[in-house]
């Protein structure tokens, strides 16, 4: 009886995931049937003519997540190495806690901070100087065209990077702490410097798990909603530069779902959700698999 109850609860979890997939497929079906494969490749998103192509939000999601990962990865690594190898024991706990608090701050607070505090500073000290420094026609010029108002693809990526950083740092730190002390000590005993111990011994030792940690961060960046909605500028067109406004799948759904103008519009938004589901669950599934493999090894 009690066992049955527990089993039912575990099965309810599976049912919830199944229901999630089913509801996205059923809800998005009208749009997928109407636009077919073009839904993924067409960049026109127009509620007035009821034509929906998701290429803009999809590309926006992939670009912001990739940029966020690129920015957060070295920082998360640095924080994890600092906490495991360099930090004085007294400071280890307070700094570790502080980094974890960064993970606890709600997404919407990041959004407000990004829009009202970060964006003006970014516009004044990064966007304007870069845009004036860029020679017309150069690569820098192409990358930095846009309105210097502090919102757009790159600012959204930076905020995302701050948000995923603590998750990646915490997972990496746990992984590094799981390296047997003997391995680390023998490397130091051979005369290796701290940098060499980390880069050639402990990090390779947890390689699989580290890739998993990075993908976990990527998964979060892909599905993050509120913070991005505040600062990405919300335009459905293909982003043309780093400072151009864009949109992600999640921000499009958040902005338009309650104001959808027609059944096809709603269906298109749910179909977008399905696309996001497929992308994130592939990434997160692989991430968990990698971490599992690492756990089995050590």
């Amino acid at each position: 009886m009690f066992e049955g109850l527990c089993f039912a609860a575990a099965t309810a979890l599976l049912a919830a995931l199944g229901g999630l997939i089913a509801s996205l497929v059923i809800g998005g079906w009208p749009a997928l049937r109407k636009f077919g494969f073009g839904f993924l490749t067409n960049a026109t998103w127009n509620p007035v003519t009821d034509v929906y192509g998701a290429a803009g939000p999809i590309v926006g999601t992939l670009i912001t997540a990739a940029l966020a990962l690129l920015l957060a990865l070295p920082i998360a690594g640095g924080v994890a190495f600092f906490l495991t190898e360099l930090c004085p024991a007294v400071l280890r706990r307070p700094i570790g806690t502080a980094v974890e608090l960064l993970a606890g701050i709600p997404s919407i607070v990041y959004g407000m901070w990004g829009l009202f505090v970060f964006a003006p500073i970014f516009a004044k000290y990064v966007q304007l100087p870069l845009m004036t420094a860029a020679k017309p026609g150069s690569l820098l010029d192409t990358l930095t065209t846009g309105i210097p108002n502090g919102s757009g693809i790159l600012p959204a990526s930076i905020i995302l990077a701050i948000m995923i950083l603590p998750f990646m740092a915490a997972t990496l730190r746990e992984l590094l702490a799981s390296v047997p002390p003997g391995v680390r000590e023998s490397a130091y005993g051979l005369g290796a410097t701290t940098a060499e111990v980390v880069m050639s011994v402990t990090l390779p030792y947890v390689r699989t798990g580290a890739i998993g940690a990075v993908m976990l961060g990527l998964g979060r960046a892909l599905g993050e909603t509120m913070a991005v909605t505040f600062i990405i500028g919300n335009s459905h067109a293909f982003p043309k530069s780093l400072f151009d406004s864009g949109s992600t799948i999640a921000s499009t759904i958040a902005n338009e779902f309650t104001e959808a103008t027609s059944p096809v519009h709603t269906a298109a938004l749910i179909a977008l959700g399905l696309v996001l589901f497929l992308i994130t669950f592939t990434v997160l599934g692989l991430a968990r698999l990698m971490l599992r493999l690492q756990e089995a090894r050590s």
């Binding site: 575990a10 509801s23 360099l86 779902f257």
Partner: protein, 281 residues
């Protein structure tokens, strides 16, 4: 070894250390900057009216009472739902079927759900509980929040139960108690503080969630205790007010953000303290 190579290694090592310290400092500066903005912008609006008046029309004074009460009601209901399902599911994984193939599938998908985009949960609940009944409701919001809390609780429940000594189970069963009795009366009790940590972490996770509430609970301008209708809640009010042009609304949004962040951070710190207490005992 040539001294040039030695110098290069030393320099590389120093550069590595400087980099690690610098990026850690950068992360701490980001945290400090966010907290500073919250305090400097949010404290201005912190007064008694905030807790006793409802959200105002643009340009007039008011508070966040309806949103605070709505958020508390939805979070409490969500936590009750999530605790029942999460603790039972975690118990099944730890004590009954965790080693079966089905058990590892459940564990794997639970881990994936743990970091799934919350906005998808909102869409799911909209399709299940809002569209069929033609109306947004606080109940739908609670269910969405519960779905986000369950994976956290399942995970921590399994982890803390596996930490309990197997002699505890054996002793109970040897005395003739059925396993279900041993689990509910012995194991759950000895794992109490671990379960509490899980619940606190889950609460911290859901109390700031905005995306899943946008199209489940929606919002309500007025004070209401009825979860059957649209329910005001802090995150959605903050979202709407922050993006408005009204100064009073923006001030309320900052103060609301301060309230939420303070709640989440306090709960996170308490969860850590509880976890440490448990490790010590």
């Amino acid at each position: 070894m040539s001294s040039a190579k030695l110098v290069r290694r030393r320099v590389g090592d120093v550069a590595f250390k400087v980099f690690c310290v610098a990026v850690t400092a950068l992360a701490l500066v980001a945290l400090a900057a966010i907290l500073w903005s919250l305090l400097s912008q949010g404290l201005k609006g912190l007064n008694l009216d905030l807790f006793i008046k409802s959200t105002p029309a643009p340009g007039s004074p008011g508070g966040l009472a309806n949103a605070i009460v709505g958020s508390i009601m939805m979070c409490v209901l969500a936590m009750v739902l999530a605790l029942v399902i999460g603790v039972l599911a975690g118990t099944w994984l730890a004590e009954y079927g965790g080693r079966s193939a089905y058990g590892s599938v459940v564990r794997f998908l639970n881990d994936v759900l743990l970091s799934a985009p919350s906005i998808l949960v909102g869409l799911f609940v909209y399709e299940m509980l809002v569209a069929p009944f033609h109306g947004f409701s606080g109940f739908a919001g609670s269910v969405a929040l519960a779905l986000l809390a369950v994976p956290v609780i399942t995970r921590t429940t399994e982890d803390v139960l596996l930490l309990q000594a197997s002699t505890l189970r054996e002793a109970g069963v040897a005395l003739g108690a059925p396993l279900s009795y041993v689990i509910s009366q012995v194991l759950w009790r000895s794992a109490r503080s671990g379960l509490l940590t899980g619940a606190l972490l889950a609460f911290a996770r859901i109390s700031g969630e905005t995306a899943p509430l946008l199209f489940t609970a929606l919002n309500n301008q007025f004070f209401s205790l009825d979860l059957r209708g649209e329910t005001a809640n802090l995150p959605v009010v903050i979202f709407n007010f922050a993006l408005s042009v009204d100064d009073g609304w923006r001030r309320l949004a900052w103060t609301g953000a301060l309230l939420i962040a303070a709640t989440v951070l306090t709960v996170t710190v308490v969860a850590r303290i509880v976890a440490q207490e448990q490790r010590r005992s």
